[in-house]
Symmetry: C2
Subunit: 478 residues, 2 copies
């Protein structure tokens, strides 16, 4: 099954489109009409226009080849609508309605019928029980939620079990000035599940990292295998460590499953896991916009000691290591900045200063360092060391992450310049350190068992926490 017709349709039909504001058929149509291609409102009991398009009473009236149908009809009406889609040659459908496998035994039977009809006609079905998907680059906005037209294009694909979480992540990504290549809320996964979506976005040119929100699935192995096959980095957020079973089951018809098992499974298949929505997007920004790190060793440069302590503490807890810098690098730092506050790892300059960029370069070029993390409060008179950082990551072939804090308006231009120079930026010391930790874990998990230290260093703990140290199944198929 290809998802091309779902995510790259030439024409779209909104079945059950409505003129009544607030109804899903209205809201979905309002968002869908932003699409470049043709969008047809379909409703047998409505005439006239909606957002400039003429209502048609059925798919058969449309001359265009419809690839994608957005089904805004109640659950019981879905099978007939899907049959109509199949007869009209529609290749993909989104089913927004709930009341399927998540709700009751009847609902389960209804969903079974949906799956059968979809199979008969070869239709890729997203949902049921989803709020849809987005592809901002082509303005394909197949969600009924408010505000999705403002989610900007970026290079992270969000694949979420819950449509609600998919939207939370999309808006968060906008707030963080990042954007997404796509967002998909899988819902009940009639026949479009994690594996299908991962495969599709691994092949998508706009996507440089894939993030998963997972509650639970009865087909974990396929999910994990899709992760392993993906050349695009995948990061997972598995929710449900405490007892949320009954409520979760009522949601997308899936038990949240055993958290430890999932975490170990992800680790074995090369996927770092995180524990919050913001950490998920941060890890995606780090992995999607950086060279792949060769190892877990982080070099930290900070202009303030306090945040530096937070960062070094957190990196180690997140699975990164803090190597001693080489004698050469320490000498170089001393030469650039005689009497520097602290010249090992982290290098602490005490304050932002004109030489800050040179120091970062020295640390980035240290052979013991695989990942660079830079912390600096914004100082208006100095700005950021953009010239030195521009292209640094590519030149040393290592991720270079930056965390800063200050008055947003004052630092906006400098932030943009840093972003344009390819440097991922983070909002708090902890979140930057967690992103560095995700890079470190990715390096360890992809490196294979030989990457797991046996000297009792912090990396061992980290690897064990991710279940990688316990066996030899870690794959090195990068």
């Amino acid at each position: 099954m290809s998802l091309t017709q779902l995510f790259e349709p030439s024409a779209v039909a909104v079945i059950g489109a409505s003129k009544t504001e607030g109804k899903i058929g209205y809201e979905a149509m309002a968002n869908a009409t932003r699409f470049d291609g043709a969008v047809y409102p379909v409703n047998p009991s409505t005439t006239g226009e909606l957002f400039g398009s003429e209502f048609v009473s059925s798919l058969s009236e449309i001359d265009d080849d419809i690839d994608l149908a957005l089904c805004c009809v109640p659950g019981p009406a879905v099978p007939d609508v899907l049959e109509e889609c199949g007869e009209a040659g529609v290749g993909a459908a989104v089913i927004y309605a709930s009341g399927f496998a998540e709700a009751s035994e009847e609902g389960e039977q209804l969903q079974q019928r949906v799956v059968e009809i979809a199979e008969k006609h070869g239709i890729s079905v997203l949902g049921p029980n989803t709020s849809g998907f987005l592809v901002p680059a082509t303005d394909l906005r197949c969600s009924f939620a408010s505000g999705v037209e403002e989610v900007p294009p970026g290079n992270t694909a969000i694949i979420a079990q819950s449509g609600g979480v998919a939207h939370v992540l999309s808006f968060q990504s906008r707030r963080q000035d990042r954007g997404i290549s796509a967002m998909v809320g899988l819902g009940n996964r009639a026949n479009v599940g994690f594996a299908e979506a991962i495969e599709y976005f691994d092949g998508d040119d706009r996507t440089d990292s894939i993030v998963l929100h997972v509650e639970g699935t009865d087909d974990g192995r396929r999910l994990l295998e899709a992760c392993r096959e993906s050349d695009t980095p995948v990061i997972a957020y598995k929710v449900g460590q405490s007892d949320v079973g009954e409520f979760a089951e009522s949601h997308t018809g899936a038990l949240t499953g055993d958290h430890e098992l999932y975490t170990a499974g992800f680790a074995q298949y090369g996927v770092p896991t995180v524990d919050a929505t913001d950490d998920l997007l941060d890890a995606a920004a780090a992995l999607g916009n950086s060279p792949t790190p060769d190892g877990p060793n982080v070099g930290v440069v900070t202009a303030q000691a306090g945040p530096g302590i937070i960062i070094t503490d957190r990196i180690q807890r997140a699975g990164g290591r803090l190597p001693k810098l080489t004698a050469e690098t320490q000498a170089r730092v001393d030469e650039i900045l005689p009497g520097v506050t602290y010249a090992d790892n982290p290098v602490d300059t005490g304050r932002p200063m004109p030489e800050f960029g040179e120091i970062v370069t020295a640390v980035a070029e240290d052979e013991r360092v695989d990942i660079v993390l830079v912390n600096e409060l914004f100082e208006a008179a100095l700005g950021y060391p953009i010239e030195e950082l521009d292209g640094l990551a590519d030149r040393v072939d290592k991720p270079v992450l930056f965390v800063t804090e200050g008055v947003e308006e004052n630092m906006a231009d400098q932030r943009d310049a840093l972003s344009d120079a390819g440097i991922p930026i983070f909002e708090t010391p902890e979140r930057a350190a967690e992103a560095a930790g995700a890079l470190a874990r990715y390096a360890l998990l992809r490196e294979g068992p030989s990457g797991v230290r046996t000297d009792g260093g912090p990396g061992t703990e980290a690897a064990a926490r991710d279940g990688a140290a316990a066996d030899g199944e870690v794959t090195a198929d990068e």
Copy 2:
């Protein structure tokens, strides 16, 4: 020792004020001149004006009574400057310079002299090795950092061991639309330490919550006792769980100490601890803007299931409990919203809807609920249930927290209205749940040992994690 002259001076002198941009004596003066009262630049080798004030060559030339001196001179010059302060009757001083106890044995001796001079003259000394403090309400901005003039007034006092972290927290608080009553970077704590600062801000009318950033102190008991005596809620962020000893020592001259010990100590003295800067400010917003919760039982209302699962999971891990709603409340919810997606705790309405506020009210009025957490993606056509939420927390005498997500500009007005209605707002499901967890832990810790469940419920774990279950020392002096 009173800190009145430090935080409420009538006139301020900037010793070592400089006309050279970028120098601490320039930057500190630039920020200090925003103060309502008189601010005098003092420098024996400079004449003319700086920001409209005439340079004077020494304190003795000033007719005004100077309460506070900002010392922008290098470390070795500090003892003489402090002597001059003492002779001129100055009651408080900020020492920005580093190179004291954090740096070397010589520095330690230098600091010892500072302490002795301060004692002789009765001067409250903030620092050395600090970037200063802020009191936004009076525009008293005694920091040399860039952008501090933009930190808005609020009702949280930040007391940080590190000046850098104090600034990070201040700017974060601005970004979160919250603001602060004050920010203090303690640095080396010559004679103004945690205890003195906590006592002062507990008596400050503008302060409704106090947050601590703690690396380590050799006077932990006084700190803890000050926490216990404080009527204003205190929340602590103790950094340094992994090995950051050597670097930390180079910072404010304090070892980071044993993390577990601190956490247990804080719990015994009624202080919930958190594990990140953003969680610290979130907990402060929850505790400082809410009635004190009677217990740890959280009632959750969500308009989307996925974020609801994240929230319920996280609340339990953070020490909160999710009681079953009473039969009356469940019946009431069913009546308001027949066929509601999930009617226990959490109540999941499936989508935002006009009845959402009524549902929140029903849950808030449930006798089993001590804390209310509401999650709703913003829907433009509906807005937030402001009318129902306005005054609800006071009426039911319980905290009511709100987490939302959407397009910032679209929801700005509604967010402001919700804020004006006294509802603390959070940015992500996890952070809202952590804030609810901090409220729950605060309730348990202040309630005393009787509040610790013995039935193996999640509260037991949470209390144990905070070290409260292990002994009977939890105090009930609220």
